[in-house]
C-alpha cells in the first residue's frame, strides 16, 4: 500500500493491444455514431462484436460467463482508449457498463447465464428505462406500474429520454410494483423485450441532433422470470449501481481529442502573422482546459480505484460526474473563444473549423450537467453523503 499512479505491466500490455486495434479498426464513421450518441447503427453494433472477436472484451468479467475474471481496470482501459478516439460508447454501453453489472449482482442464475455472455460478446444492448415526465431528478416519483397477473407482470405507463431504445434489443425498465408504499420500497426492475406488443417508441430529437425516445407501455406483458432480483427492491438496486455507473459513463479521456484539436488549431492558426499560440490569453485558456482534464482523469481514476478495491464509495463518483460535466461546458466555452466567430459554423459548412466538432460539442454540453442527475442533486449528494451535512 502506497501512493501509486502507474499501471501494471500486464495492464499496459492490454492497453497497447486495445490501442493498436482501435488505431487500425475504429473508423471515423463508427466513432462518430458513438461520439454523437446518434445511436449505433449497423456498423457500430457490428464493431462491438468485432472488439469481442479480437479478444478485447470481457476481461473484467467472470470466467464462467466467458470473461477473464480480472479487475475492472481492464474495462476502464478499454473505455478510456475508445474515449480518446471519440468512441466512448462503442461496446453497447448500457449493457456493458451499466445493466450487466446489476444482472451479475442481483440477477438469478438463469438470467446471468442468458444475458451476461451476450453482453460480453457485444450481441445485445439495452435502453435505460428510468426517467418519466414527472420523474427527472426525482426518480422516485415514477408512475409506471407493473401489476402481477399469473406468470406475467402487466406494465402500463410512459418513459422518456430512453436513448438507446430504438436500436436495442431490451429495455431495462423500472416500474412500480407496489403503489401503496413509498416509492423507494415499491419499485422493481425488469428486462423487457423492446419489441414486445404494446410498446410504442417515439423519437425525441435533441438540440444537438441526437435521437432519444419516449416510450409508451400499453398492457405490456412481461414474464415473471424477467424480474431482476427481488420484487420491490428496484430502487435500491438502481442506487446501489449508481456510483459504478458514473465510473463507467463519465470518461475523461473523451475530452482529449478536443484538447488536441484546439492545441493544433492555436499552433497552426495565425492572426496578423502571429500564431494564436503566442497570445497569453489563448495559452491560459487552453492550459486551463488541460489542467481540468488532468483533474477529471485523477478524480475518475480515484473513484474507479475505490470501486475495484471494494471500498465504500460515498460521493466520489458523484464528484467525478459533477466536475467532468461542468468542465465540459467550461472547455467548450473557452475553445469557442479561441475559434472566435468561426466557432458557430456547423459541420459541413464552408469555413467550419475543426470539422464543426466544437460547435456540436457546444450544443451537446447543455446535457452534461443535467443527464444522469443534475449538478444540483450531485452537490447535495456530495454535501450530505460525503460531508455528513444534515438533510432538510
Amino acid at each position: 500500500m502506497a501512493w501509486d499512479f502507474g499501471i501494471l505491466k500486464e495492464e499496459e500490455a492490454y492497453r497497447q493491444k486495445v490501442a493498436d486495434f482501435l488505431d487500425k479498426e475504429l473508423t471515423e464513421e463508427i466513432a462518430r455514431q458513438s461520439w454523437e450518441d446518434l445511436g449505433l447503427d449497423v456498423e457500430g453494433r457490428a464493431f462491438a462484436k468485432k472488439l469481442y472477436a479480437a479478444g478485447l472484451m470481457g476481461w473484467s468479467w467472470p470466467v464462467e460467463y466467458g470473461g477473464k475474471g480480472l479487475p475492472p481496470i481492464y474495462d476502464f482501459i478499454l473505455i478510456d482508449e475508445l474515449g480518446k478516439r471519440w468512441g466512448a460508447h462503442v461496446p453497447n454501453d448500457v449493457a456493458y457498463t451499466m445493466v450487466g453489472h446489476t444482472i451479475l449482482r442481483r440477477g438469478s442464475a438463469e438470467m446471468k447465464k442468458e444475458f451476461i455472455p451476450q453482453i460480453i460478446q457485444g450481441e445485445i444492448e439495452f435502453g435505460l428505462g428510468y426517467t418519466e415526465p414527472e420523474a427527472g431528478s426525482d426518480l422516485a416519483n415514477m408512475k409506471m406500474t407493473a401489476v402481477e397477473d399469473g406468470d406475467y407482470f402487466v406494465i402500463n405507463g410512459q418513459k422518456t429520454f430512453n436513448t438507446e431504445s430504438h436500436y436495442s434489443e431490451y429495455h431495462w425498465l423500472a416500474a412500480k410494483t407496489d403503489t401503496k408504499v413509498s416509492a423507494y420500497k415499491g419499485i422493481s426492475l425488469f428486462i423487457v423485450d423492446q419489441r414486445a406488443p404494446g410498446i410504442t417508441i417515439r423519437p425525441m430529437i435533441t438540440m444537438s441532433g441526437e435521437r432519444t425516445n419516449e416510450i409508451f407501455y400499453d398492457e405490456v406483458k412481461v414474464p415473471k422470470n424477467r424480474l431482476v432480483g427481488e420484487k420491490n427492491k428496484g430502487f435500491y438496486y438502481m442506487m446501489e449501481a449508481l456510483g459504478s455507473e458514473r465510473n463507467y459513463v463519465f470518461v475523461p479521456s473523451r475530452y482529449l481529442p478536443y484538447l488536441n484539436m484546439i492545441v493544433d488549431y492555436a499552433k497552426n492558426t495565425t492572426f496578423k502573422g502571429i500564431p494564436l499560440a503566442e497570445n497569453p490569453m489563448v495559452r491560459d485558456k487552453i492550459a486551463q482546459i488541460a489542467v481540468e482534464i488532468d483533474m477529471s482523469t485523477l478524480l475518475a481514476d480515484h473513484a474507479r480505484w475505490m470501486e475495484w478495491n471494494h471500498l465504500p464509495m460515498t460521493c466520489e463518483p458523484e464528484i467525478t460526474k459533477v466536475f467532468v460535466s461542468e468542465m465540459e461546458q467550461r472547455m467548450v466555452d473557452s475553445a469557442m473563444q479561441i475559434l472566435d466567430q468561426f466557432c458557430q459554423l456547423k459541420e459541413g459548412s464552408k469555413w467550419a473549423p475543426l470539422n464543426g466538432r466544437m460547435e456540436w460539442e457546444f450544443l451537446h454540453s447543455f446535457m452534461t450537467t443535467i443527464g444522469a442527475g443534475t449538478s444540483e442533486v450531485g452537490r447535495t449528494v456530495i454535501a450530505q453523503r460525503g460531508l455528513g451535512l444534515p438533510r432538510g
Binding site: 426517467t131 414527472e134 427527472g136 431528478s137 426525482d138 416519483n141 422518456t160 429520454f161 425525441m204 430529437i205 435533441t206 438540440m207 441532433g209 492558426t269 495565425t270 492572426f271 496578423k272 494564436l276 490569453m281 461546458q329 466555452d333 469557442m336 473563444q337 472566435d340 466567430q341 468561426f342 466557432c343 458557430q344 459554423l345 456547423k346 459541420e347 459541413g348 459548412s349 464552408k350 469555413w351 467550419a352 460547435e359 457546444f362 450544443l363 447543455f366 446535457m367 450537467t369 443535467i370 443527464g371 443534475t374 449538478s375 444540483e376 452537490r379 447535495t380
Partner: protein, 379 residues
C-alpha cells in the same frame, strides 16, 4: 436621471409584443425558419414594414417616422424577446444606418424610402477570413479604380442575410495596409452584379450568415458610400449602433428566458415541491435577474449616449462585453432548470441558447470589447 420608457416607446413595445406573438407562432415555425434558405416569410416582413419598423429612425422626408435610436432599441429588445428571424437587423442597422450616416442626398433619397417600405434589403460585408480574431478593420478585399468604375476583389465572411439582400455594402481597401482604419471605403453593390457570389454558411443559430465572394465585381464610382478612404469612422459608428442593437436583442432574449424559466420553476414539481422552492433554483434565478438588470441599464445608457452624441466608445464596449456574457449565462441557467425538457429541439430554450451564442460573437465577443475598454482606460 430617468429609467423609464416614453409613452411612445411603451406603445412600440406593446405593439411589437402583440404582433410578434402572432407572427412567430410556435417552435416549429422557428425551426422551419432555421432550415429555410431565406429565414423569414414575406408575410412577416410585410407586417413589420406596415408597422413602420424599418423606417423607425429615418427622418420623415425619407419615408421614416422620425424616431430616435432609443426607439429602435426598444423595438430590438422586443425582437430579441420574440427571437424573430429575418433581415431586419442587417437591413436597418447595418445598411440603413450606414446610408443615413454617410450617404449622399441622392443615395438617401434612393434607398431610405425603399428600406422603410420594406422593399429593399441591405447588408454590410465586413469581416474576412484572415480575421481569425475578430477585427472589422482587417480588410484585404480591394477596390481598384478603373475609369469611372471600381473593380472589387475579395472574400467576405459572416455577412448576414446577403443571400436575400438587394444591396450589399462592401467594405474594401482602397489604400493603406491591412488593419488600418484609414484607406477603407464603402461601396453600395447591387447583389445581382456579376461576380458577386453568395454562399450560405451553416450556423449554430440557423441565422443566415454568408460568405460573399467578390470576383472582379465592377461598381460605378457613384456607388461609393461616404468618402473615398474615409469609411473607418462610418464603420466605427455603424458598429456602435450594431453592438448596442445586439445588446438590446440579447436583453430581450434574456428576459424571455428568465420569464419561462421562472414560470417553469414555479410549476414543475420534484421531491414533492415546486422546484422554485429550492435555494439552488432560487439562486440560479436570482443570478439571471442580476445579469439582466445589468444588461438593461447598460444597454439603455449606451443607446442614450449614442443618441445624445456623447462619447460612447467605452460604454458601448462595456455593454457588449457585459451583454454577451450575460445572455449566455442566463440561457445556461435556463437549460439547467428546464433539465432534459429544455434539451429537446422542439423546446423554446434551444432557440434562445443558440441565438445567445450567435449574439455573443456578433460585432465582437466579450474579449474583443474588453480590449477596447482597456484602450479607453489608457492601457
Amino acid at each position: 436621471m430617468d429609467f423609464t420608457y416614453t409613452e411612445e416607446q411603451k406603445m412600440i413595445k406593446d405593439a411589437a409584443r402583440g404582433f410578434l406573438e402572432k407572427a412567430c407562432p410556435n417552435v416549429e415555425w422557428y425551426l422551419d425558419m432555421d432550415k429555410d434558405e431565406k429565414g423569414f416569410t414575406p408575410e412577416l416582413w410585410k407586417g413589420m414594414a406596415e408597422l413602420g419598423w424599418m423606417g423607425i429612425m429615418f427622418p420623415e422626408k425619407y419615408g421614416g417616422i422620425g424616431g430616435s435610436f432609443l426607439d429602435l432599441v426598444v423595438l430590438l429588445e422586443e425582437m430579441g424577446y420574440a427571437a424573430v428571424p429575418g433581415p431586419f437587423f442587417s437591413t436597418v442597422l447595418l445598411g440603413g444606418l450606414a446610408v443615413l450616416e454617410a450617404g449622399t442626398d441622392a443615395q438617401k433619397n434612393d434607398l431610405l424610402p425603399k428600406i422603410a417600405e420594406g422593399k429593399c434589403l441591405l447588408t454590410l460585408a465586413l469581416t474576412e477570413a484572415a480575421s481569425t480574431v475578430y477585427d472589422p478593420f482587417f480588410i484585404e478585399t480591394t477596390a481598384k479604380a478603373a475609369g469611372d468604375n471600381y473593380i472589387i476583389n475579395g472574400v467576405k465572411l459572416f455577412v448576414p442575410d446577403a443571400n436575400v439582400s438587394d444591396v450589399i455594402i462592401a467594405a474594401v481597401r482602397t489604400s493603406g495596409t491591412t488593419g488600418d482604419k484609414d484607406g477603407i471605403s464603402l461601396f453600395l453593390v447591387d447583389s445581382k452584379t456579376p461576380g458577386v457570389k453568395t454562399t450560405l454558411l451553416k450556423t449554430t443559430a440557423g441565422d443566415k450568415l454568408c460568405e460573399v465572394i467578390f470576383d472582379a465585381v465592377t461598381v460605378s464610382k457613384d456607388k461609393i458610400l461616404g468618402s473615398l478612404n474615409g469609411a473607418g469612422a462610418v464603420i466605427t459608428r455603424v458598429l456602435q449602433y450594431a453592438a448596442v442593437g445586439k445588446c438590446a436583442e440579447m436583453l430581450g432574449g434574456s428576459q424571455k428566458v428568465m420569464e419561462i424559466t421562472v414560470a417553469y420553476a414555479k410549476e414543475r414539481v420534484q421531491f414533492g415541491k415546486a422546484i422554485g422552492v429550492y435555494q439552488a433554483v432560487q439562486h440560479h434565478c436570482a443570478n439571471q435577474k442580476m445579469a439582466i438588470e445589468g444588461s438593461t441599464y447598460i444597454t439603455y445608457k449606451a443607446a442614450w449616449m449614442l443618441c445624445n452624441g456623447l462619447p460612447a466608445t467605452r460604454i458601448v464596449a462595456s455593454a457588449k462585453a457585459w451583454g454577451s456574457e450575460a445572455y449566455k449565462k442566463v440561457a445556461a441557467i435556463g437549460h439547467q432548470i428546464f433539465g432534459g425538457t429544455g434539451y429537446i429541439v422542439e423546446h423554446p430554450m434551444p432557440i434562445y441558447s443558440r441565438r445567445a451564442k450567435a449574439a455573443e460573437y456578433a460585432y465582437g465577443n466579450a474579449n474583443y470589447h474588453r480590449q477596447l475598454v482597456a484602450t479607453e482606460l489608457g492601457l
